[in-house]
């Protein structure tokens, strides 16, 4: 009898708040902005600590433009699926561009051009450049393509990130040598830069013009 009473009490206690109604993962939309700002903010701090000002400034410009553009456009009305082929082509051209960068030892050349900016303890070597600017971002660009497919807001942010980065980063190959102490010269990436810039411009245009007709709240 006591055991039964105990079981009844336990049963009531367990089921009082949590029944098994079918629920879906449904955070408010602004959580996407918070998540993007938290991840991007942490990433920028890490880049400033380990790679210092030049890569840090380039990424900061990219994040700010991408955030503003995303919030003004595909945050509310995500991009249509037909942007995916252009997005994928941009990843391909970025990979080819990265090939030129690595062929010319981009990280080593950049450190040689601006030795004072990088300091002694900085680890902006070719190894870390490949790992953090080529291989890992390519994985996240592809992951974001899945997000684009499902009209996910963070996937749409990554599309802005890739297309803006396709303009900012290659443009920097022409601008940065202007400030080098030992004169203007070749910086790896200069040859393939125009191609990736074109992809970036096409991508921005297609993101602006190919959005869903209705707003997506999630």
């Amino acid at each position: 009898m006591i055991e039964n009473k105990f079981n009844v009490k336990l049963h009531e206690h367990l089921n009082y708040f949590l029944d098994d109604e079918r629920l879906y993962f449904n955070p408010p939309a602004w959580v996407n902005i918070l998540a993007v700002m938290s991840i991007a903010g942490t990433l920028l701090i890490a880049v400033f600590i380990y790679f210092r000002a030049i890569p840090g400034m380039l990424l900061t410009i990219n994040v700010v433009i991408a955030l503003v553009a995303w919030y003004s456009t595909t945050y509310k009305r995500p991009a249509k699926r037909r942007v995916i082929p252009v997005y994928i082509l941009a990843i391909i051209v970025m990979l080819l561009h990265s090939g030129e960068l690595h062929f010319g030892s981009y990280a080593d050349r950049l450190v040689a051009l601006f030795p004072n900016s990088f300091g002694e303890l900085v680890i902006f070597t070719e190894y870390w450049f490949i790992l953090t600017f080529v291989l890992t971002p390519t994985a996240f660009y592809l992951l974001a393509a899945v997000g684009l497919f499902y009209h996910n807001k963070m996937g749409n942010f990554m599309a802005w990130w890739l297309f803006i980065w396709s303009i900012v980063f290659p443009a920097s190959h022409y601008i940065l040598p202007l400030f080098a102490s030992n004169g203007y010269g070749y910086l790896p990436g200069m040859i393939s830069a125009p191609f990736i810039i074109v992809m970036g411009v096409v991508g921005v245009r297609i993101l602006v013009t190919h959005q869903l007709d209705e707003e997506i709240v999630l």
Binding site: I84, P85, I88, L89, I91, I92, L95, L96, S98, G99, H102, I130, L131, V134, L135, T136, T138, A139, F140, L142, L143, A145, V146, F149, Y150
Partner: protein, 201 residues
Amino acid sequence: MTIRENVYVLLAAIIGLGFTGHLHLTADWIPTVVIGLGALATGWVLWIRTSLKYPTNPKLLLPPYLLTAALLMLHIAEEYAFDFGNHIASITTGKWTTEEFLWSLGFGFPLIWVFGAYAIAKRNPFGGFASWFIFCGMLLGEPTHLVLFPVREIMLHGGGYGYFPGMWTALAPLVPGVWGIWVILKDTHHQRRQSVAIERS
């Protein structure tokens, strides 16, 4: 097969033979067998027998394909970080360096895989080859990081079972890879039945 399909079969064969030959010259027998035979040749045969004639619906295939490619790139990043190339060289008679590994698996192959996503989206036959190539690679190649490579390292150098570069992320792309194979087989079967029904009517 149509002329267009024949051209794609030939193009895929050239790509497959080219990459297999390149791997044989730089990385010796283990990567050549795993990638060349396990992924490229097997994928080529399965592609011809399934999705060459019936390109898979991109709305079904793109999610598992992109997920597989993304997780595979993350896996390659782990391999690069922990010097996979030299570790493979130490368990073969090869001379694979980190630099050669990077140019092959960090730049060369990813171009094919990422272009595969473009081809799938456009319902181009090449997308079928790229998807079978990557999915077979995941199914047959990735478990080697946990089974073949560390065991061969013990056989050659002694010691106990331990970490081999790429081990922690090896099985991740296998999951969407198997999902992708299931999607291709199901969609091919569906399209084949539809085409038979149309022919009969």
